[in-house]
């Protein structure tokens, strides 16, 4: 137990155990062939699309906020590029810029409303979620007269955002890995990361210590909305058409991935590597079940149970991490960030 202690104190401990546990469960009870599972593209593609959204949502959660407007931003991103570059025939670079700008704008709105009012970010982003859903659907119909908009991207854009590597793996997997690596560096090696942990632990103390909490919050919201728009954009380029449905599932899927990954909903505790493993766990549970003998109808049950078990593990590991520190503490706070270094 003593040898394991340093590992268990890390925020990503429970997500690694969950991932191993889920794979073991599928091997023992589902008779899954590991070579087939790891060679399969379906769950990796699923994880990459989800992961690009889950990482910024998780970082926002470490900072103490939640963003559910991503559910509307994925179809919004998909629709924006299809309308700009497909329907109006503008260059694809203009379409990409417009899509990311829309994400930045909605994130800015979320961030400003969150920092200027006392309203919880869950409610604010619920409002922007509904508004954006309405604008995307009615706007698409108004501008193009159809609910589905075709888009044909030039070769370079297709290669960068919407191609298949080795006939089945989507190129977004590369984007997922790059973004995760960048965020690991930013969150755990730069002062911005420390600011985010400090803000999630105690925003008033962080502000008093000189952290520009408002600007930081707005930037994090812009990041999550832009990432969601980016995922929608890649989907539109890949499938040559914009899809207006299918974003809502990302809301709970992203939250579950992040929380299984060891991030504390109340902020101040978590790691990017944990979110990465949490996303993999979610993807293997929901897509890996097709490779097992288990009826796929039970996958949601397994997701629910995995979530509750992972969170319970996180709770006890966090207590373990704090028990060696001083005094009792309800939230991880700045102490929680320390083991990650």
């Amino acid at each position: 137990m003593n040898a394991l202690r340093p590992f268990l104190r890390r925020p990503e401990a429970a997500s690694v155990i969950s991932l191993i546990g889920v794979i073991a469960f599928y091997v023992v009870f589902g008779g899954v062939n590991l070579a087939t599972l790891f060679g399969a593209a379906s769950w990796v593609n699923f994880a990459a699309n989800l992961g690009i959204v889950a990482v910024p949502v998780g970082i926002l959660m470490i900072g103490g906020y939640i963003d559910i407007s991503i559910g509307a931003m994925i179809p919004a991103g998909s629709m924006t590029i299809a309308i700009l570059s497909g329907h109006y025939g503008l260059p694809i670079s203009v379409g990409i810029a417009g899509t990311l700008a829309l994400g930045a704008l909605v994130g800015l709105l979320n961030g400003v409303l969150t920092t200027r009012t006392t309203v919880p970010s869950l409610i604010i982003t619920l409002a922007t979620l509904v508004v954006m859903q309405g604008i995307v659907l009615s706007g698409a119909k108004l501008l193009t007269g159809a609910a589905s908009v075709p888009l044909s991207a030039p070769d370079w854009a297709k290669a960068a955002f919407g191609s298949l590597i080795g006939s089945s793996h989507q190129v977004v997997i590369v984007w997922w890995l790059i973004l995760t690596a960048v965020f690991v560096f930013v969150i755990h090696k730069t002062r911005y990361g420390n600011w985010i942990y400090a803000m999630g632990g105690d925003i008033v103390s962080a502000r008093n210590a000189g952290v520009p909490t408002s600007r930081l919050t707005i930037a994090l919201f812009m990041l999550s909305a832009m990432s969601a728009a980016f995922v929608g954009m890649c989907g539109a380029i890949q499938f040559n058409s914009a899809q207006v449905s299918g974003g809502m599932g990302y809301i709970f899927n992203a939250i579950v991935s992040v929380v299984v990954g060891g991030v504390l909903l109340t902020g101040g505790f978590g790691s990017v590597v944990g979110i990465f493993f949490g996303t993999m766990t979610f993807a293997i549970v929901s897509q890996g079940i097709y490779f097992t003998d288990i009826d796929r109808n039970w996958s949601n049950l397994i997701i629910g149970v995995t979530l509750l078990l992972a969170v319970a593990m996180n709770e006890s590991f966090r207590k373990l991490a704090l028990s060696s520190g001083s005094g009792k503490r309800r939230r991880g706070g700045a102490n929680g960030a320390a083991p990650a270094e």
Partner: protein
């Protein structure tokens, strides 16, 4: 914050009216109704319009009431979205597929709701995990159980049930050919929740719980039992909606109810209850539900693109929370001096 609502109600002045938590929501309701009365014309103002939005309001309203109580107590319940299909599938399998007495089916359907609430309540009170996460977990679990058992037992994701005339009259008929009987259930349930929150001592406990959990426990309030009770009430309400839908449409589906998760929260927030807990009223929740339903259905009478309805609801939501922020600031300014 619960202090505001006590004591000073005897003198009716403009200030005390504006300070009431539901004042802003009521103004919103009037504005929205006026807008759709102009756009929708005589049809919307007449019986067809009223039945259309009241039918929607009743279903989401029955769920919104206990969800609102939980939010006043500082908790969330996401699992309602999967309790609705779980209860109607349970009832339909027992009374429809297996052909057992319908009373047993309804009892088991409601029992499923109470059981999910019991599990939620215990997990929320026994751990320090936020209720949002716990109820997302139970939502996924119940969704999986519903789908798994429906396919395992009935071999289908949709099960039919033809209720006997008495059950149909009580739970699934249309009065005057257009008003669903669930509207009456909504009114009965709203009265019950009103008495619970604003007349019985339990109401003060709920406000105290949302205001400051530790102080509430120190003051002798059985906070754990109260939280578990509130979760069981919301599970029961969601199960009731599932059964009302089943008796009306005579068909149980595994993939229904997800829209209730955010819709119920939106009704509650438009009604002036904030997630931060400790403030809110049942009248406000009913007004918020009516507002939501009027926009949701009025849009079909207005000739506008139905998706514009989402934009209106979202803007109302923002207006509600922002004005609440303002209203609460005024209320706090006039009632207490911050030290």
């Amino acid at each position: 914050m619960s202090k505001n609502r006590e004591g000073r109600s005897s003198r009716l002045s403009l200030g005390s009216l504006a300070r009431r938590p539901e004042a802003g929501s009521f103004v919103g309701l009037i504005l929205v109704y006026a807008l759709f009365a102009i756009l929708g014309g005589a049809v919307f103002v007449g019986a067809p319009g009223w039945s259309s939005w009241l039918n929607i309001a009743a279903e989401v309203g029955i769920v919104a009431l206990p969800v609102g109580l939980l939010m006043i107590a500082g908790e969330l319940d996401i699992s309602v979205g999967s309790v609705i299909p779980a209860s109607q599938m349970t009832t339909a399998i027992i009374a429809g597929y297996l052909g057992l007495p319908i009373v047993l089916g309804i009892a088991c359907g409601l029992g499923v709701g109470l059981l999910v609430g019991l599990v939620n309540g215990h997990l929320v009170t026994r751990t320090t995990i936020p209720s949002l996460i716990i109820t997302i977990g139970t939502m996924f679990a119940v969704m999986g159980l519903t789908l798994g058992f429906a396919v395992l037992i009935a071999g289908s994701t949709s099960v039919f049930l033809v209720p006997d005339p008495v059950t149909k009259t009580i739970l699934g008929t249309f009065l005057f050919g257009m008003f669903n009987v669930s509207i009456l259930w909504w009114l009965v349930f709203a009265t019950f929740v009103f008495l619970l929150l604003h007349v019985s001592p339990v109401g003060n406990w709920i406000f105290a719980l949302g205001g400051d959990r530790d102080s509430a426990r120190n003051a002798g309030i059985p906070t754990s039992r109260l939280t578990i009770g509130l979760y069981m009430l919301s599970g029961f309400a969601a199960a009731l909606v599932g059964i009302l839908q089943l008796m009306t449409y005579q068909n149980a589906q595994v993939a229904t109810g997800q829209s209730f998760i955010f819709n119920s929260i939106m009704c509650v927030v438009i009604g002036g209850v904030l997630l931060t807990g400790g403030a809110g009223s049942v009248i406000g929740i009913v007004i918020g539900t009516a507002t939501f339903a009027i926009v949701n259905q009025g849009i079909f009478f207005s000739g506008l693109d139905p998706n514009v309805g989402s934009v209106i609801i979202g803007v109302m939501l923002l207006a509600a929370v922002l004005s609440n922020d303002g209203f609460r600031a005024i209320a706090l300014k006039y009632s207490t001096r911050k030290g």
